[in-house]
Structures are given as C-alpha cells and as structure tokens.
C-alpha cells in the first residue's frame, strides 16, 4: 500500500489546483502568435479557430480524465502496463506499451525544447536584443530544473500561485485593446466554410498543447477532486483567453495587418495604452510577466516528462532529480537545432499535430483497449502491483 496510499493522502491536488495546472500549462508562448496563426486560414472568422480548437482540446482532456478515473492513482506510465499486460506477465504489458510510452515521453521532451526555444526567440527579438538566446533558454531550463527537484504537490501549488499572474496581463491587455477596436474588422461573421474552421482549429493545436501532461498529473488528484470538472474549467479558461486575444487582435489590426506581424500579441500590447499608468510601452513588461506563463508551460511539461521517466524505470525522487539535471543538456542542444524563426514556426506546428495524436489519439486507443478488456475500477486494488 505504500506508494499509492501516500500519494492519495499527502501529494494531492484539489479540483482547483488541477484546473489551474491545465490552464497554466496550456497558456504559454503560443498566445504570442495565436492571432496570426488562427486568422491565416479563417481571416475574419479567425476567432472561431481557438473556439473550435478548444473543443478538440476539451474532448481530449475529458477522455484523459475518463481514462484516469478508470485507473485512479495511476499515471499513464503505470496503467499502460496494466492495460496492455495481463496479471501474470507484466513485462509483456511493459513491452507492448513501450512504443506508446516512448512516444509520449519524447513528445513531452521535444515540446519542452520547442517552447523554450520559441520564447527565447521572442525575448531576443523584442526585448533583450543583444543577449544570446542560449542565456534565455538556460535560465528557463534552470527554473524548470528547480521545480523538478521538488515533489508533485509543489508543482500544483506553484501553478495555483502563478495562475492569476498569468491570467491578469492577458485579460487586461485584451480588454484594454478594445478601446482601439473597430468592430467592423471582425465582420463578416461567417465567411469560412465548416471544413476550413476545422482545419483552422487543427492549426491552433500547438497553442492548446499541454493538456496531455494530465495523463500524468490526474493520478495525483485528491479522491474527492472532480477531474472532468477540473479539465472543463482549465480548458474553458484557456479558450476564453485565446478567443479574447484573437478577437481583440482582429478588431484592432484587421486580418491583413495581422498576417504581417510576427508576434501579433506583442504588437497588441504595443498599441495599447494603460490609462493612468505612468509607464508607456508595456511590451517589455508584458514579456516580463509572460515569463511566468511560459515557465509553467515548460516546467510542467518537463516535470511530467521526468516523473514519467522515473516511473517508467520504477525509481524514486533522487532519480528524478539527477535525470532532470542530466537530460537538460541534450534538451538544450535539441532546442538549438532549428536554424531560423521560420523553421521554428514550422516545427512548432508539426509538434502541434503530433500533440493531437498523443493527446487525443493515445487516450482514445487506451480507452478502447481498456473498455474491450473490461478493465476498470477493479484495478484499484491491484494498483499497488504496478508501482
């Protein structure tokens, strides 16, 4: 009873913590480009892309929650072998689940690299122009590493603490920018066809990337926490923020101007004046505060990766600490592979598509197998078997 017991009494997350974990993992560097990517195909209707994309993310999160409810207290790594294996030969389950688990872990690892590189890129382009991008990436990694040294409960509390700090700047900027909005810019309301909306939604996948960490973190939910509700709140807040930013981007700039901007959200901040504030151009401040949002994305993903890795090898906290330090070095070089900003955007879009496969495809597959094999809550007692 040792591990799971302790994880249900001590290292637990409330519904609210789970929700803020989801939101803050989702909201990150993607917001800075979202207005452009979502209007690329849909033009004036671009604000629908985050809505529809959020629908996909919501469905995936609910699937993950459902999966997690069937195997309470177990992470994706742990129930993989239960799902694929039999009671007698667990190594078989481990073997069959190996490709999925590796795909998942690799996706998290690469996602961390891309996010940190993207953020490094925007900081170096917009604010700290002389600073080498390596310095920015390394500091972000150091923050993620520092979090990885702590227990899971600390992750949930950090996210809870930073939640409002992440939400406030976007909301304020989004609402203030409406002063300069021309609402004719978002008309006509329905110009794009349904397949286009769907394609546009898929293209926002990178922005919604991050809910897949819940495959790990839902395992640490309190027994009374409602996972589906947390997933719903978490994704809904992100949808709200994304739609608001896209809408204000379209209303302020119009579609044509938006396509010309590399970081449209930063330009929105640039054109927005805060009434009564002495300070003038808030984009540096916005990027400064945005470090928190990107930090939560990077470190939650990296934490989920390390936790998964440690469970995969069946080790404890010390293993996680050492591995999170060691794996930072390849991660650093991985982040530096793309040669230019256009390539990074392409890679991040690709990663978004893979994220869809991982975040939506894996839970679907697992649920199907789990339902077919009539596994379910009865695994609860066996939970201790799968460390």
């Amino acid at each position: 009873m040792s591990r799971n017991q302790s994880s249900s009494t001590d290292k637990t997350m409330s519904t609210w913590q789970l929700a803020s974990l989801i939101t803050s993992t989702l909201i990150g560097v993607g917001v800075l480009t979202l207005p452009r990517t979502s209007t690329e195909r849909l033009a004036e209707q671009g604000w629908m892309a985050p809505l529809a994309g959020g629908g996909i993310a919501l469905a995936a999160t609910l699937l993950i929650a459902w999966l997690s409810r069937r195997y309470p207290g177990l992470t994706f790594i742990q129930y993989s072998e239960v799902i694929w294996g039999s009671r007698k030969s667990r190594w078989l389950g481990k073997l069959i689940s190996l490709p999925w688990v590796l795909l998942y872990l690799a996706h998290l690892y690469i996602g961390t690299a891309i996010t940190s590189r993207l953020f490094g890129e925007v900081v170096v382009t917009a604010v700290l122009r002389e600073t080498p991008i390596e310095a920015i990436i390394i500091t972000m990694f150091c923050l993620a590493l520092f979090l990885c040294l702590h227990d899971v409960e600390v992750v949930s509390r950090v996210n809870e603490l930073l939640f409002l700090l992440i939400l406030f700047p976007v909301l304020i900027i989004g609402l203030l920018s409406f002063q300069k909005a021309d609402w004719n810019q978002i008309l006509p309301l329905f110009s794009a066809s349904f397949p286009d909306v769907f394609k546009g939604a898929v293209e926002t996948a990178f922005t919604y990337q991050g809910y897949e960490v819940m495959l790990i973190f839902f395992a640490f939910a309190q027994p009374v926490a409602r996972k589906s509700q947390a997933g719903f709140i978490g994704i809904a807040v992100a949808i709200g923020v994304y739609t608001l930013i896209t809408m204000s981007g379209i209303a302020v700039f119009g579609v044509d101007e938006m396509q010309k901007l590399t970081w449209p959200t930063l330009e929105i901040v640039k054109t927005t004046q805060m009434p009564g504030l002495v300070l003038e151009r808030l984009e540096s401040a916005f990027l400064g505060v945005w470090v928190a949002a990107v930090f939560t994305t990077i470190s939650n993903t990296y934490y989920a990766f390390n936790l998964g890795l440690r469970q995969f090898f069946g080790r404890g906290m010390v293993f996680q600490r050492i591995m999170s330090l060691l794996l930072m070095f390849p991660l650093f070089y991985l982040a530096l592979i793309p040669q230019n900003i256009v390539q990074i955007f392409r890679v991040s879009r690709m990663s978004g598509y893979i994220g869809l496969v991982v975040g939506l495809g894996l839970p679907l597959l697992y649920l199907a197998v789990s339902l077919m094999r009539r596994q379910g809550n009865r695994v609860k007692e066996k939970g201790k078997v799968a460390r």
Binding site: L128, S284, L287
Partner: protein, 514 residues
C-alpha cells in the same frame, strides 16, 4: 504529515549523531546520583565536591528546635539566587527557634528529594535545600529570587490601539500574562527543559480542543529533540525546530505581545515561551501572518483592510523598486515617458557608475545607516537617520555620485520595508532585494521575473509544521481569504482559519443561541 515527519526524522537522526559526540560533555550526566545520606556533613561535602568550590554556595548550620535537644540541620543555597530575606526571616528564625504556636512560614514549593542529582538541579534553580541529620531525604524550599524587568510596552511591536503590555524575560510572568487573557479550561501548558547546561525551561502552550493534536505532538517532539548546551533566546529554539533552514523566510513567528499570542492560540496554533527572552514563538506560521498586525483586528474593518493593502504595496515597493529602477533605466528606457527619460538622463549624466552599482551603493549605505541607528543609544539613533538620509543623500547627489531619482527610490524602499509589522519578515525582504537587483542588472525585467519565480517555487515548497507556507493563496482556502488582504468584519469570520484544521472550527455563535 508523513512528508514532514520523514524530513524531521532525518534531521533528528543528524542531531542525534551530533549528540553522541557531545554525550561525554553533558554536565548533568556526569553527576552520580548518590542518595542523600543520613550523615549531615557527608552530604555537605558531597555537594561541595560536586559543585566545586563556588564562593556563592553557602551552607549554614543550625539546630532545629531547642539548642540542646534539637536536630542538627544545614541549609544549602546559592547566595546569588535566593531571596535572603525569606531565608533569614522565615526559615532560620522559624526553624531555629523553639517550637511554639507560630504559624508556618509561607514558602512555596516544599518538596522532598532523595537523590543527589535532583537535589543539585533544584539547588541550581535557586531553591534552598534543607538537610536534617539522620534523614535520607532533603527538603527543597522555593526561595528563588531573580532580578527581572517589569511589564513594559513591547519595543518591536508598538501599536496605536491595543494592549501596552509586553512579555518580559520571566517565563512565569509570560504564562501569567496569557492566562490572564485566556481563562479557558482547555489551555494547556507543557514544560520542557532545553539546553544541557543552561537547562532553560520552555513552555509550550496550546488550547487542547483547538490545536490539532499531531501538530502539538510534532512541536513538542521537536523541542524535546533539541540537543544543545544552551538556549539563550527563543531564536535558538526557532532555528532548531523550523522546517527549512535554508529559506530566507521565517517559518515561526516571534512576538512580544501576549494579546497576539492569545489570538493565535485561539486560531489553533501553538505558542512556545522561553525563559530569559520576551519573545514568544508561534507555530505553525504562514506567509500572510507576518504582514498582519494585532491592530488589524482592533480597528474597524474598513480601516484595517486599507492598511493591509498599503502594507502589501509597501512590501512590493521594498522588494521590487530598486530592481525595477535598474531594469527600466538600463534595459527598457522606452517604457519611461519621454519627458521623464530626458530628466533622468540629465540626472544620471554625471554619475560614473551603471545604475546597478549606483543602486547597490545606495542600498548598502542605507542598510549600514539602519544598522548603525539600531546600535546607537536611543536619543542619538534618529540623529544618525537624519544625517544619513539628508546629508549623505544630498551630498551624494551634489557630488554627482548618484542621481536624484536614486535617492528617492532608496528612501521609498527603506520606508516600505519599515511598514512590515514583523521585523524578521522585513529582513527577509530586505535580503531578497539584492539578488533581484543583480538579476535586474543582467536581464532587466526578464531577470526580475526569473528570480520572482524562483521565490514563488520556494514559497510553494515551504511548509511550516505541515501547513503549506502560502496557504490561503495556494492551496486556496476561500474562507480564509476573508482574513488575508481584506480583513472582513467579524460577522463574516465566524470560523477559525480552516487551513490549521482546528477540531472546533466555529468561533462565534456556538451553543444554541441561534
């Protein structure tokens, strides 16, 4: 609970290892527990041998009852620790004179001991030992008399409205100040002696049906686990029992105010009073309580809510202002309004240092001034403040060493850090300012935010006796937020803070009156 218990076990193991080395030095263990012998002189020589030849150790021989028939007896005491009047007037006069119908003298603590170890312990605590020829037990008379200060107004926590009484260095006075305010039958006082050589009495106070049992047990265990030669101040105990030594934040609150202690006892916390210091400890402590003052509850709620808001603002000013100045002036000048930027550039044009160094220079000067004015005797202290702030600041600006805005910023940060009610929390903020300034000098706002995130992670990981340090914010306790920045009126705060998990949560309307 299990996590801090594990951490604590590790720690205790370490302490135990250290103690093994010290075991040979432990003074009380060296004393053999010889029984009190019927031979009077033998006892006196044993005591004198064990205690060495201290000149203030007196043994007065006399005879109980009539001079011829009475029993020989001896009084042993430390001349410096006892109330001589009591000994002269009551014991000697009463015991030395023939038995008659005189009243027994009023001496507290009349106890008898048989072992020499216990006897010496009492002797060292200021008791007088009465040894009687032919008896194998000694009588202990409570004659101790220490010099002590009266009850005065607390120096470090002055209030406009509220009790003017503060603790003094006497433990029993401290407990009496609390008992005076809290006549709850459930108030418990546990005595623990800490310090191998000082043998300082420490009292742990809690209200039985409010303080969670495991927290009390944990605190008592941790105090019992302390193995050190001496406890001179409650700070020793604080540092030996706190959860994280490496944190800049205080995890146990120290206070001089009995009313504050009572308020926290009523919230289900535990107070630790130590002999020899006016500072009582309150545990577990969370971040926000260091920014709350007792007066917040004595004033009407709107006023105290506003004051708390101002305190939070001053916290941010004290923490961030110098680093923001560095970030804005040397990294993001586009954020400063154009007119101001020209004025600032003019002010800085003669300054030979980059703004990081300028800020460091001024902040360190200010810290030195502050430290100096604390050390100086009362009337001179403020003078140094004025000399430092006005003369040095003005001269530095005129000499072109610092810009005028820097002087304003230093003044604001200093004032801001004074607005924190708790001295130890203010120090931690003052300390964190410096790494922030370094990072602001390296990365501007990005650096500031990086360090803030490190602080946030650390605060999230920090716990005080099982209670997460940032409690009402993370994990969120919506009801406790009523007493966070906003101090709600009392009819909204009918329950004790839920994060401390008090067995009896209701603080108003109990019984069936409504």
């Amino acid at each position: 609970m299990s996590r801090f218990w594990q951490a604590w076990k590790r720690r205790k193991q370490m302490l135990r290892d250290q103690a093994l080395h010290q075991r040979s030095k432990k003074s009380m263990d060296k004393i053999p527990d010889i029984p009190v012998s019927p031979e009077l002189e033998a006892n006196v020589t044993t005591i004198q041998r064990l205690l060495g030849s201290s000149d203030d150790l007196l043994a007065r021989h006399f005879v109980i009852g009539p001079q011829e028939t009475g029993k020989k007896a001896v009084l042993v005491y430390f001349d410096t620790l006892v109330d001589k009047k009591v000994i002269d007037e009551f014991i000697l006069e009463y015991l030395g004179s023939p038995l008659d119908d005189r009243e027994r003298p009023a001496i507290h603590t009349l106890e008898s001991v048989r072992g020499m170890q216990k006897l010496l312990e009492y002797l060292l605590a200021g008791m007088t030992i009465l040894l009687i020829e032919g008896k194998t037990e000694a009588i202990v008379c409570g004659t101790f008399h220490y010099a002590k200060r009266g009850i005065e107004e607390p120096q470090s926590e002055a209030l406009v409205r509220g009790s003017r009484e503060g603790f003094n260095e006497s433990l029993s006075d401290g407990v009496s100040l609390i008992r005076k305010r809290l006549k709850d039958p459930a108030l418990r006082v546990r005595l623990i002696q800490v310090g191998e050589r000082t043998r300082t009495p420490v009292n742990v106070l809690f209200i039985e049906d409010l303080a969670p049992e495991d927290v009390v047990r944990e605190i008592v265990n941790r105090i019992k686990g302390i193995q050190i030669d001496g406890i001179l101040e409650s700070g020793y105990i604080e540092q030996m029992i706190q959860d994280s030594t490496w944190s800049p934040f205080p995890q146990i609150q120290a206070t001089e105010r009995p009313d504050k202690v009572v308020a926290h006892l009523l919230e289900g916390k535990v107070a630790i009073l130590t002999e020899g210091t006016p500072f009582a400890l309150i545990a577990p402590a969370i971040f926000t309580q260091f920014y709350q003052s007792a007066e917040d509850y004595y004033e009407r709620f709107l006023i105290s809510s506003m004051i708390r808001l101002i305190r939070m603002m001053s916290l941010f000013v004290a923490l961030l202002l110098p680093s923001l100045y560095i970030a804005f002036s040397s990294f993001h000048p586009e954020m400063i309004p154009s007119r101001l930027v020209i004025a600032m550039a003019a002010g800085r044009s003669t300054v030979p240092f980059p703004s990081v160094i300028e800020a460091f220079l001024m902040e360190i000067t200010m810290e030195i001034l502050r430290e100096a004015s604390i050390r100086l005797p009362g009337p001179i202290g403020p003078t140094i403040g004025i000399v430092g702030a006005l003369v040095v600041g003005q001269a530095a600006v005129q000499a072109g060493l610092v810009s005028p805005i820097m002087v304003i910023i230093v003044a604001l940060t200093t004032i801001g850090s004074f607005a924190t009610p708790s001295y130890s929390a203010a120090i931690s903020i003052r300390m964190l300012r410096f790494p922030l300034m370094i990072l602001a000098g390296a990365f501007g706002l990005y650096g500031i935010m990086t360090f803030l995130i490190i602080i946030f992670i650390h605060l999230s990981a920090l716990k005080s006796f099982g209670i997460p340090y940032m409690t009402p914010i993370s994990p969120v306790y919506l009801k406790s937020m009523r007493d966070f920045i906003f101090r709600a009126p009392f009819f909204w705060m009918k329950e004790r803070p839920e994060m401390f998990n008090p067995p009896d949560p209701s603080r108003q309307n109990w019984g069936e009156d409504k």
